[in-house]
Symmetry: C4
Subunit: 231 residues, 4 copies
């Protein structure tokens, strides 16, 4: 089997999805990118999570060609592909898509997830953005590819590893990071912060974002050159 | 045992109900229809889910006559019967009734479940309707049969497989589909979407329904002649 | 061991409490009454639920005298005793006290749990009342006995089996019924209905109570002389 | 191994954290103080909860010097140290830090957790305070030590065992008590009361605090010289 470790990392992360509590029914998938080989591994379409084996994982190159695997790749593959093309040289190696319920609520309300506390600041260096509305042409054309496009637009001025998630308007979250384990952690942190934000805004609809000084302190003590933090 | 596979499908789906998280105490039942035989299988009254065996399942014809089974059919049988009479020739083969909590909240608030996002659009081609208030005559007469009647009224102009669920006002959801497994999935999707909608409306009580173009894209990529989607 | 079956019924119900999801930490207890013997069995104070054995259960008579058991009865014993004195000849044989979270929310908001749907009407023939505020004298005196007193006041004109629960203002729910299993079911139904009501009122703060005709239909098809219902 | 029992108590409590439902991912830690020895045991940084062994636990003295253990102590160690210095002679022997979601919501909304009912009064003799905003100097300097400082300020006039928890503004809860088991119980009670308060305030944003007479009754029947209560 070619690219065994890539497929294993991808397979394990997809199996972990329903156990993480982020995924209902079949609403989610994980991909893992190999920058040296210029291809990524992704969940096949229509296989239940707990039945997945590494050999089921499909390998796709950055032009969208299936290079290994007998099954059809997830229908969301063009979205993942567009993100690896844009974010791959910035260190993003894995993407997790879920319909986790609290993050979806912000996506459906077309509302950025604000940074309301240090749990958020430990993972995201600012609010998690919402994509712009897609045009009828984008929706009726190559929809999943265009979905990747509106995500990439949000990060024109932002390092995708400083805010490793996005809310696709009316749809739900995509998260990413330097490995499948880390990308899954970003997806979990996003859902936890969205839950906390829903409860905070119920107490105070005008709750203020975290002080910028505290945001920097928390994000930077865990990430980057001066990181020192561990619970 | 007559109609073994029908009874087994019905038995398995009823056993799956409490495991799905949709059913508290004894608030739910599943039926499965055999159009060729003109009869359906349904949960017996008063048997705990985990004690059900296929031989306990009751077979009832479309006139309401018990044709096999020693136990009393669920008190909700006339509702199921009326739905199979109206929807059976449109492909509906299984009906799931639950009191799942978020769907009940919309039923109790007498509010259609709006389509606020793509999770909803993946399963329901538009808002999930609420039945009209029942009259005192309907309530005091053949109440369970009349409950089926107000449901059928909601689908006078709608293919029941395009919106495979309804909210009975002040009561709770019924869901259906082409098999027991699919009907249970519709019931789960309904509850998930109702939970997401409650959270979305908490963030924005005036949250707009999903763009019609996006609704069509998501429903039609999973259903019908041009379907191509798989996670 | 005297009154073995009474103690076993009480022990099993107390062990079931944390498994029901109604009880956090040690916030709950169950008692069971034997009208012929004029005494009731109740959880001892300070024993973890899963360590309870029938021999640990304390027997108390209606004058408050411990008649069997080496342990101290629950501090809430005077409340249970007052309820058995008032409700025992109306068929109440078991009382369940919990701090289940949604029911507590209504108790803390000093708000009757309204009957907003048929799930409620299947178990309670009308809204579940809130007790009046207790006086400083009642609080500083024999507080647990007085707690029973304000509950009894709520049922001066009401059959306690037609509405088998109450919300003690600022405190939480007591539920009861003809057996420990049925009392526990009343406590569960109360919490489920309170959760549904919280969600319904979030959608519509002015949600109307269920039509009286539908309330009667649902309660009476499950209870009393003309009952016929089973899921 | 030095201080074996202290390390075991600390290890067990840290392992219990994720099982308590209070901790997502790695958001929490527990410390245990030995007043005679003038040192405390604390979770090491970067070790998963379920892999912890007593030998991994780090011992730190009140000057901040690691006196035993090969691993790095939790980055939150200076906060714990400052609290033991201020509260150690008042009987506080263990501190639990979590990001439990409902307590975090109050911390993020910068809102004291009011005492709305007897569940709260059973554990906290009044509202649970929120710390003041930290200054840029405190944040950019010795941040974790300063976090302890703003907590200590809240208890200038209050016995820390009468209100054994605090909400750090924009961050989350710290709880404490006379042992690790009791401190964990305080952290759980805090989260339960915060959940109940969120639901109560959803029903009535102006819900009144519990009557002072009832607050005293409930707290004092469980704590102090005249305690008599047990469920």
């Amino acid at each position: 089997m070619k690219h065994t470790s890539l497929r294993e990392e991808c397979c394990e992360a997809n199996i972990a999805l329903p156990r993480s509590g982020l995924v209902d029914l079949t609403f989610g998938n994980v991909s893992v990118f190999d920058p040296a080989a210029g291809l990524f591994a992704i969940k096949p379409s229509g296989v239940p999570y707990d039945a997945l084996k590494p050999a089921d994982i499909v390998l796709v190159d950055l032009e969208g060609k299936v290079v290994a695997g007998d099954l059809k790749p997830s229908s969301d593959t063009p979205t993942h592909r567009r993100l690896f093309r844009a974010f791959g040289d910035k260190g993003v190696r894995s993407i997790v898509h879920t319909h986790s319920r609290c993050a979806v609520a912000f996506a459906q309300a077309a509302r950025e997830l604000p940074c309301l506390g240090t749990t958020h600041a430990d993972h995201f260096h600012g609010g998690v953005p919402v994509t712009r509305p897609m045009t009828p042409g984008e929706i009726q054309g190559d929809y999943e590819w265009a979905t990747g496009g509106v995500i990439v637009e949000c990060f024109a001025q932002t390092d995708p590893l400083s805010i490793p998630a996005v809310l696709v308007r009316g749809h739900g979250p995509f998260a990413w990071n330097v490995s499948a384990v880390k990308a899954l952690e970003s997806a979990q942190a996003l859902e936890i912060c969205a839950d906390m934000a829903l409860k905070t805004l119920a107490l105070d609809p005008a709750a203020a974002p975290l002080d910028a000084c505290l945001l920097d302190k928390h994000f930077l003590r865990k990430h980057g050159a001066t990181a020192y933090y561990g619970q």
